[in-house]
């Protein structure tokens, strides 16, 4: 019959074991998938899968508290209410797919090229016509002055208008 062990001896044996295991394990195994740990926390793993995970947990005892916390997560109401600003910061991580956009005034569509060409031709034609008419009038006036044919008649018309124009004024003054 084996002798009963006291706590000190048990602790020493365990530490001895732990040192040997850590030395033999070499590099730490990668952490298991969170879903695997969650399934273990809910006792949903097969015996084989649970054993493999427990071997890893034995070397990573901090993960045991994660499993315990995960089990407690479904129990009771949440004691912490996050501040509104914290919630808003998290919500902003996903932008709105249909943002409200304030439209600016629609910019004027540029006129078609043919309309622009017609306008320019019209302006050019107008300038040309005015130029020609002005030139013609000017030429006639110049010719008249130079030739002097109608200069006397012109001056007479200017200084001695036709009788019918102011005849009524003369009769009124004399009466």
């Amino acid at each position: 019959m084996t002798e009963p062990m006291d706590r000190a001896e048990e602790t020493a044996l365990w530490q001895h074991w732990q040192t040997a295991v850590v030395n033999a394990a070499g590099e730490a195994a990668p952490a298991p998938d969170p879903l695997l740990l969650a399934a273990y926390a809910e006792h949903r793993l097969s015996e084989t899968a649970a054993e493999e995970l427990e071997a890893w947990l034995a070397l990573h005892p901090e993960a045991i508290t994660d499993v315990l916390a995960a089990r407690d997560s479904n129990a009771g109401p949440l004691p912490i209410e996050p501040p509104a600003a914290v919630l808003a910061r998290a919500m902003a991580l996903v932008p709105s797919s249909d943002p409200k956009v304030v439209p600016f005034r629609r910019p004027a569509r540029p006129a078609p090229a043919w309309r622009v060409a017609i306008a320019r031709v019209a302006v050019a034609a107008s300038l040309l016509i005015v130029s020609l008419v002005g030139f013609a009038l000017g030429t006639d006036a110049y010719t008249s002055v130079v030739n002097g044919d109608q200069s006397a008649a012109l001056s007479q018309d200017l200084f001695d208008p036709p009788a019918g124009v102011f005849s009524s004024f003369g009769e009124e003054s004399s009466s």
Binding site: T2, E9, E10, T11, A12, L13, W14, Q15, H16, W17, T19, A20, V21, N23, A24, A31, P34, L35, L37, A38, A39, A41, E42, H43, R44, E51, E52, L53, E54, A55, L57, A58, L59, P61, E62, I64, T65, D66, V67, L68, A69, A70, R71, S73, N74, L78, P79, I80, P82, P83, V86, L87, R89, A90, M91, L93, V94, P95, S96, S97
Partner: protein, 175 residues
């Protein structure tokens, strides 16, 4: 919340689904990490980091979740605590340079001149885990039983058998 349905629309980029998800689970995540980080700004930063991980790369992490394997609250708790530990590791104080450490502190006491021989499967994964919980995490038998989903007497029996094996293996070496 019918998680399967809502997660589908959330992963599709539905803004309203994401906002609802944040409102519902932010408190759970804060509760999960509060034992690992300081309350206040640090906890809120970890909360934001968790949500960033969930929606990063077109919700890559969230897409790995399978409701058939574990509950969403359980899985989120595991993810949150894993994130908190990563944040803790990043914020850890930098190690001192080797030259700055006094030589006496670097001395290694060679307890075993030869590497400990560890027979394969000396302890089963379950036995390893029980010992780790009892001695490393300082948990009591009832908590260990609850974690493993077994009877407390089963825990005591597992512990006793493991100790007998260790004593049988290490007993002659320790003497």
């Amino acid at each position: 919340m019918a998680d399967g349905t809502d997660l589908s629309s959330l992963i599709a980029g539905n803004k309203a689904a994401w906002d609802g998800f944040v409102r519902r689970y932010a408190g759970l995540i804060l509760s999960a990490v509060r034992s690992l980080v300081r309350e206040g700004t640090e906890a809120e930063d970890v909360l934001q980091e968790v949500f960033v991980r969930l929606c990063k790369d077109d919700f890559r992490l969230l897409r790995t979740y399978d409701s058939a394997r574990a509950g969403l609250s359980t899985w989120l708790t595991i993810v949150a605590r894993s994130t908190a530990r990563d944040v803790q590791r990043r914020h850890r104080l930098p190690q001192s340079a080797l030259d700055d450490v006094p030589e006496r502190l670097l001395a290694v006491v060679d307890v075993h001149s030869e590497p400990l021989k560890l027979p394969k499967d000396l302890l089963s994964p379950r036995q390893q885990l029980v010992l780790t919980m009892l001695y490393e995490r300082d948990m009591d038998v009832a908590d260990v039983a609850k974690t493993l989903g077994v009877d407390p007497q089963t825990v005591r029996s597992t512990h006793h058998k493991a100790m007998l094996k260790l004593r049988a293996h290490f007993g002659p070496e320790r003497q």
